[in-house]
Point group: C2
Chain length 255, copies 2
């Protein structure tokens, strides 16, 4: 925790991603264009959008038949019933709904607007699509990390991120939904501060701080600069996963 | 938004801060030790702890007489009644309480555990103290910015930050409670993405992403490295303040 400098580098000219693309190969090519070699301790941050695209998650809206539940919720929220149908399929349940705002708990356990499903036009001949989150972002991060480590020999971490809103505060921030090669929480309980006072509750969401930092470069659409390299950040190494950041319902005061 | 590299530098050897210290002078001296000159577009991120200390906010616990309300709430939360008294004085109201967890709305309008009041031993002969947030963090940021700009001529932003927990997610992240020289929210609504699709809801909490990035270097106690310089980040210039990030109660689904 005594690092005093961190560099963030957005990898240039990542091409449009299509189903079946090998993201590790795409990232290695972009690193080469940026004249960067992966080093031990680097963190590679990847927006979920290109992971979902590579994994073929996009669903053409014209292929979707809304259920009666989706039709009712679409009317309440003034959303496209086909989009609502996909949001419901991606979800464990509704956390809050008011007006057009729909806060869902996803099957992974993330709580976010519209279950993280984006509506987009991803080009090609699919027309307008819904783009859900990857089915298992921790597994996606793990696969990308394995491939990058096999190619470079560097001991790195990989994060898959998305932009979420928060209660009480306006504006979205980039957060982590998939992780490999690090513990997402830095547990500093019991560590003395500089006056020898023992910190009682200090568990830091290091993976979310890394995601937010990368968000500074990723740009509005989360795909202008979809991969950011972070060098110099201290984080707890280990075989962790992002779902370790999910608060258990019985410990949560806000659902 | 086309910046492709950001550097974060923790300023070294910031001394212990005592009431009356001139933080701008402290920061300028630390910049000189780091061989850094402020440049246009830099962001100087300062943890609230040293701002509160410099502004003399610390309250010796032995000087506090708890009210009946504080005594009752201290019993419910198993906290020191004197600390609870100070938390109540700093607050507009209780948002949630369960067990030892006390989520308050501060007089400034921030929603956070214990109204942001830390218990600490800040050294010297004050004994154990409670350290509340600065009384007006936006004004504190404004004063520090004015002094840094007067000394250097650089057009910069200054953020005052604190570490907060969040609903649904474990772990704290560093967030912004005071800002000067920037708009904390980057409003990208109506901007076309790379496929020409108009983004409908994309307001990014740029000030919170900057705070989280700085949090990577600030360390666990929020005072190991209390000042971080961020260079190369794009942010909306302007005469904004952190309270612009507070969501109005009628727009909030979680209080």
């Amino acid at each position: 925790m005594t690092q005093s400098q961190i560099n963030l580098i957005a990898l240039p000219d990542i091409p449009d991603i299509v189903p079946g693309d090998d993201l590790a190969a795409v990232i290695l090519a972009a690193l080469e264009r940026a004249n960067q070699c992966l080093q031990d301790g680097d963190v590679v941050v990847v927006t979920q959008k290109i992971v979902s695209k590579a994994e073929g998650c996009a669903i053409p809206l014209e292929s979707v038949t809304p259920s009666p539940e989706a039709l009712a919720l679409a009317e309440a929220t003034a959303k496209d019933p086909r989009l609502v149908e996909i949001i419901l399929r991606e979800s464990h349940g509704i956390v809050r709904q008011r007006g057009g705002t729909l806060i869902m708990e996803t099957h992974h356990g993330w709580i976010c607007a519209n279950a993280g499903v984006d509506r987009s036009n991803i080009g090609g001949d699919m027309g307008e699509v819904a783009l859900p989150l990857p089915s298992d972002p921790d597994a996606s991060a793990h696969r990308i990390r394995e491939a990058l480590q096999a190619a470079t020999g560097a001991d790195i971490a990989v994060l898959i991120t998305d932009t979420h809103g928060r209660p009480w505060r306006e504006g979205t921030v980039n957060i982590t939904i998939g992780a490999a090669g690090m513990m997402p929480l830095a547990d500093l309980r019991g560590t003395p501060d500089r006056y020898g006072y023992i910190l009682r509750v200090t568990v830091v969401a290091r993976a979310d701080e890394l995601a937010a930092a990368a968000g500074l470069l990723m740009g509005q659409a989360g795909e202008g600069m979809p991969v950011v390299l972070i060098r110099g950040a201290a984080y707890p190494r280990g075989d962790g996963c992002a779902t370790q950041m999910q608060r258990a319902p019985e410990r949560d005061l806000f659902r």
